[in-house]
Point group: C2
DNA sequence: AGAAAATCTTGGTGCAGATCAACATTTTAT
DNA sequence: ATAAAATGTTGATCTGCACCAAGATTTTCT
């Protein structure tokens, strides 16, 4: 069980004192998932916080018969349905793997104990949550004001690597456009 | 300076011990703003956390020459640019009043001291932030999958009161649709 | 109260992008 | 290695909604 990536991310957010880090590190347990496996179902309460050691996952909602992809998580990032986990309320989203995934997870019981016991960890979690909020606000702005082409271009410049990593139909769903439109836009830019 | 509404909201989120509540209460200072006043400008770091005793405000971004309204704040809710405030990073949004507003505010210095000194308050802030994240995710889903009409109807059922409270052009901007379209949709439902 | 500014309504037009469909290509499973 | 399933491409059509514009109405300021 490798905590290397996690430690790196943790330090970049806000360095934790040794004692806190050790308490935190002790609470993670390894889990593996196959490709296309649904980890959490909408309506359930998220029981775990995940950290991705390898693989790609996506978080999405069902609205009628359409899927709306909220975000992707990758090797080296946290994963899970954050609001459902922290508030222990039913989730409105699904979490599934896109590739076979090697992850660490922490139960809510441990999480709750850690945050109550160590103010530094409580703060660390808050700052992580705010960072997530900040990113979501940024995307929100784009959804409100960008055309399909603008959203597409922004994706290309911000994270070109996802083109190879993630099936285009999910990227289209992430941008809120039709897969066919995504494919056509791709054609205009490749030349 | 009335802390009544604030206390009510605080208790509904997570009751604070008396001592913490008093420390918190001591940090708020009253401010008034006129109608249409810009409180925080994009690019600046948000210096204050606000609580609304009376009035309506909106948070928006400029994208080219278009405005995208991210959210409204009302009497009895917190206000301010949360991510910029908590991370003390430049904001990408503006905060302005829609009506003359009677608010309380707390400086970042006090906020930071309080959260470091009182773990209960740190936790209280975290849970508030997660709740905000949760609401934003819900809206995000709608932006990704709803048509103009669906977004409009959802607004009507969820918060019909805003129709009288907020100029329709801002509601349109909040939904990411054209003001003229909003007006036409309104015509179809009134009959 | 009256003038000025802001907002709302309504009709007409155009186009970005959804939808449909058939085929090509890539990926996965056995 | 091969079949089967999933994903991507491309063209043709159709439509929801943005855009424009002019007049009506409401709200704000002095």
């Amino acid at each position: 069980m490798s905590l290397e990536l996690l430690r790196k991310l943790a330090n970049s957010m806000m360095p934790l004192p040794n004692h806190e880090w050790e308490a935190l590190a002790a609470c993670w347990h390894p889990v593996q998932f196959k490709r296309k496996e649904v980890i959490t179902v909408a309506g359930e309460v998220e029981k775990y916080l995940y950290f991705v050691n390898a693989g790609v996952q996506r978080l999405f909602c069902l609205e009628g018969d359409k899927e709306a992809t909220l975000l992707f998580t990758y090797t080296g990032s946290f994963s899970g349905i954050m609001d459902s986990f922290q508030l222990q309320q039913p989730s409105s989203a699904y979490l599934e793997t896109l590739t076979a995934s090697d992850m660490l997870r922490m139960s809510y019981t441990d999480f709750d104990r850690l945050t109550l016991q160590y103010p530094t960890i409580e703060r660390w979690v808050r700052l992580g949550t705010v960072a997530a909020l900040s990113g979501l606000l940024e995307r929100h702005k784009e959804l409100l004001s960008f055309t399909a082409e603008q959203k597409f271009r922004k994706l290309l410049t911000r994270s070109p690597h996802v083109l190879q990593l993630i099936p285009h139909k999910y990227l289209a769903s992430y941008l809120g456009i039709d897969p066919a439109t995504f494919s056509k836009l791709l054609g205009t830019v490749k030349l």
